[in-house]
Symmetry: C2
Subunit: 105 residues, 2 copies
């Protein structure tokens, strides 16, 4: 649930999204994307939550900006992005950010 990230600096992809009512294939694809993201070079972890109204925030963590570019260009991920735009997401906002400091308790 909490990503076990190293000391900064590293990168975060902040993905906020509103799901459509269309669930066809979504759960399976979401699981698959987490699986192949975790196998990508530079992957550090993920934190993700969605509420009952279909609004969600997923933050994935990466060792470098280049690792994020490579993940975005992954062939299977490109197909999933296309389906996301056309079927599963009513709206989304994606931000790439460099984590400069971090703490927790």
């Amino acid at each position: 649930m909490f990503a076990n990230t190293p000391d900064p600096p590293y990168y975060a992809v902040i993905f906020a999204s509103q799901r459509t009512a269309n669930d066809e294939g979504y759960g399976q694809m979401a699981d698959r994307m987490v699986e192949i993201a975790a196998a990508q070079p530079g992957y550090l972890g993920i934190e993700s939550v969605r509420d009952a109204e279909g609004y969600g925030i997923t933050v994935s963590y990466w060792s470098s900006a280049e690792a994020i570019v490579n993940w975005k260009a992954n062939t299977e991920h490109l197909a999933a992005q296309e389906l996301g735009r056309s079927l599963w997401y009513e709206r989304y906002e994606l931000r790439v950010a460099k984590v400069e400091r971090a703490y927790g308790a």
Copy 2:
């Protein structure tokens, strides 16, 4: 629900948290923190979601790292942070990140 942020660069505070079962005063304080955050210099917006199990991610956006330091030091916010640590959060992880690029649909 989605923050209406300007073009990058700007800053994000990524706050992932697991709530305790203690709801005493939490909702009122959370609303108040959003209210006073929005009145702080440099505040750009907020995106927040929590699921039925009490796991949540809140991302607030700020114009600069300095604006975040000032928000953290806000007197009312400091009191809320202390209550959060002692009463409301079982665990949390906070990351400060500089947004370098953004897009949406």
